[in-house]
């Protein structure tokens, strides 16, 4: 395996890790108006992700940095091309991040209410737009011979891509609800579990619709050997398993099973892309690949050493931080925010 492929896999893993971790973060943010009936409950909900959201978001920033270092043309074409989508994502992330630190600093209900809505929309918009952007990498966008994007925001908002946006919103709501049922206790936990059970059927439905529509709107049938279709099939299977665990009251296993679903869906996307990174709808010759978009072999080698040295350490201390805050939160818990 060459380093270009290795970095393609690494970036896929960064996105998978990001959607796994930030998925339940966004889910909790979007569930806030539905499960947070009073201020105390909303604080409990926010505190379940309080120590973690920033570290989870860094997965996306690192994916961006890794794109820049390993595939500068991918980074340049995607970010300048999907300009308006990323402006909206950035604005959401700015307001969402500020909301975490600011909302509970003052007691005024209007102040808190305003930040709670920013948390909601700041979680909703990236959940919608990031999957839309990523699916368009595969579906194909107008990229010319100079690797320049020739479309607009509307180009990205096509039906098959929007399906994945909606799928992500539902999926993250589901993921967030299971997470809350694990991290809280008492009434909050049982309400979160009931919510997860209600979200499971539509999540399953939209995943199926998304996968089937993707088969017809991308070139995957022409490129994949039959065996590879097992990957998205397993994604469906683990979602089914997740629902079964949920009904049996095994929230931990349900959470893990759906985590696998998220990773498998992201893996399917990257498997369908490989070895391309951005498909050009104008000419197959103009698609960006892991070779035409890449940095020099020297840079990839240096980056590999750096990643090899740092990634295990990062994983260790992030896991440790989850272990430190493993206790369930209830309404009576002391709250730091």
């Amino acid at each position: 395996m060459d380093l270009n492929t290795l970095w393609f896999i690494l970036i896929g893993l960064l996105f998978a890790g990001f959607f796994f971790l930030e998925g339940f973060d966004y889910g909790v943010g979007m569930l806030l108006p539905f499960l947070g009936k009073d201020d105390r409950t909303r604080r409990v909900l926010i505190n379940t992700i309080g120590p973690h959201w920033d570290g989870n978001e860094v997965w996306l920033i690192t994916a961006g940095g890794a794109l820049f270092a390993a595939f500068p043309h991918w980074y340049a074409t995607m970010f300048s091309g999907f300009y308006m989508a990323f402006v909206l994502v950035l604005l959401s992330l700015i307001l969402r991040g500020a909301a975490f630190e600011f909302r509970s600093k003052l007691g005024n209900p209007r102040w808190r209410g305003a930040w709670d809505w920013m948390l909601f929309f700041g979680s909703l918009l990236p959940s919608l737009l990031l999957p839309v952007a990523l699916f368009n990498l595969l579906r194909g966008v107008p990229i010319d011979a100079t690797m320049t994007y020739r479309g607009s925001l509307v180009t990205l908002l096509n039906l098959p891509a929007l399906l994945w946006g909606v799928a992500a919103i539902l999926g993250f709501l589901f993921h967030g609800a299971i997470f809350l049922s694990l991290k809280t206790g008492g009434e909050i936990a049982s309400q979160a579990r009931a919510m997860a059970e209600k979200l499971w059927p539509p999540t399953l439905a939209i995943l199926l619709i998304g996968l089937i529509s993707s088969i017809f709107t991308t070139d995957v049938t022409a490129r994949w050997p039959v065996a590879l279709f097992l990957v998205p099939l397993l994604a469906v299977g683990t979602l089914v398993v997740s629902g079964v665990f949920l009904r049996r009251g095994r929230s931990g296993l349900a959470f893990a099973a759906f985590g696998v679903t998220i990773v498998l869906v992201v893996s399917s996307l990257f498997l369908a892309l490989y070895p391309r990174v951005m498909v050009s709808s104008l000419s197959p010759d103009w698609s960006l690949t892991i070779y035409t978009a890449a940095s020099s072999a020297y840079t990839l080698r240096i980056m590999s050493y750096i990643a090899l040295a740092l990634v295990p350490v990062v994983l260790l201390y992030q896991a440790w931080s989850y272990w430190v805050f493993r206790q369930r939160l209830v309404r009576e818990s002391p709250l730091e925010y």
């Binding site: 009073d38 201020d39 105390r40 505190n47 309080g50 120590p51 570290g55 978001e57 860094v58 690192t62 961006g64 940095g65 890794a66 820049f68 270092a69 390993a70 595939f71 500068p72 043309h73 980074y75 340049a76 074409t77 995607m78 970010f79 300048s80 308006m84 990323f86 402006v87 950035l90 604005l91 992330l93 700015i94 307001l95 991040g97 500020a98 630190e101 600011f102 600093k105 003052l106 007691g107 100079t146 690797m147 320049t148 994007y149 020739r150 940095s295 020099s296 840079t299 240096i302 980056m303 750096i306 740092l310 990634v311 201390y317 992030q318 430190v324 805050f325 002391p334 709250l335 730091e336």
Partner: protein, 459 residues
Amino acid sequence: MDTVTLARLQFGITTVYHFFFVPLTLGLPILVAIIETIYARTGNEVYRRMAKFWGKLLIINFAVGVVTGIVLEFQFGMNWSEYSRFMGDIFGVPLATEALSSFFLESTFLGVWIFGWNRLSRGLHAATMWLVALGSNLSGLWILIANSFMQQPVGYTIVDGRAQLIDFGALITNPNIISQYPHVLASGVVTASFFMMGISAYHLLKRSEDREAFWRSFRVGAVAAVIGCVLVIAVGHAQTQHIAQSQPMKLAALEALVNSEDPASFSLFSIVQQSEESISELVSIRIPAVLSFLTYNRFSGEVRGIKDIQSEYVARFGPDNYVPPVMLSYFTFRIMVGAGFLLALLALVALILVWREKVERVPFFLRVLMPAIGLPYVANTAGWLLTEMGRQPWIVYGLQKTKDAISPAVTPGMLMFSLLAFTIIYGGLMVADIYLLLHFAKRGTVEEEEQVEHTALAY
């Protein structure tokens, strides 16, 4: 306005705004970590209250620093795609390393610090703040390594019109970083120590309840301020001498030296008229030979002027205007240096008063220290404007011009939208941030946390 102007305006606004929050994020974690370490070792409750108080202000500041930093990570690709293509091989390496080595570190451990007061031992909790300090300062190092390449390209070769990295060791030991990094690090310490002294001064003047906490904080601040100021000035001097070698045009501009001189005179006050084609001095009051001394440590030696360097660059790089905005460079340099010396003077007086235990007997000085919180911010901003504007018309010195770096896929309308959106939201955040900082700075070390919760439970 064209895309280049809009994109530059956006980069300027988002970067300057981001750097409004960064220096405190570099310096304050170090001071909080020191304070909390004292608490961990002695168990003296006053240090716990101090750590919590300064930590809370740090968190409020940190939040805005983090969210405005995300914009910068993606802005290179969004607005400057041709720069990203040309430089990705090199610039992406420190950027990705920054994310891996520092963003994870500071975000994870700040989260643990905020929520971990009752979950971790005293020593371990103090250690998490040290890790936050390490993270934010490592982040500064990597991003300055990236910036240094733009000031002084090293360890590269040009292949097919793209810069390619050939020597990672050279990249991270760039001569430019050797003076730039300590300068920025020390300015962070100065910013944090004046922040600490100014707020402590308020409470000492007001005779707040927890006098001991603020008197001790003042002492920490005074010591850190003196160390920081000495470093900033000493390193800053070395940095300017380095710029004389690596970016002679920037030096000529910041000294408003139009014609080459040997020995070169130092400008006390200059007005230079600059247009696309010509440059001329309108007013110039100069002291003979002092610039040569500042540059070479002796009263002789040629310092080259703007006109000579312009003709040399035309011969080397082809016809263009290679002169950065002279008056802007000249005045930002003087504002930065002036503020720096004023801060050093204040720091010295503060330390002497601390030494003689007379701080509270000079209320006038305490009153001066409160607005002085803003002085490091003036110096930091002026310094960055000089660094980046003085590099123009280059985005990467001698390799790529700013006008060639812009994204062809982005229209002026899109840029205008994002510029307005970022500016409005940043403006709102700034107001909220300053309001919160004032609110908590004035409240002192009293922990009202529980009270807030009881009222919260009431509705």
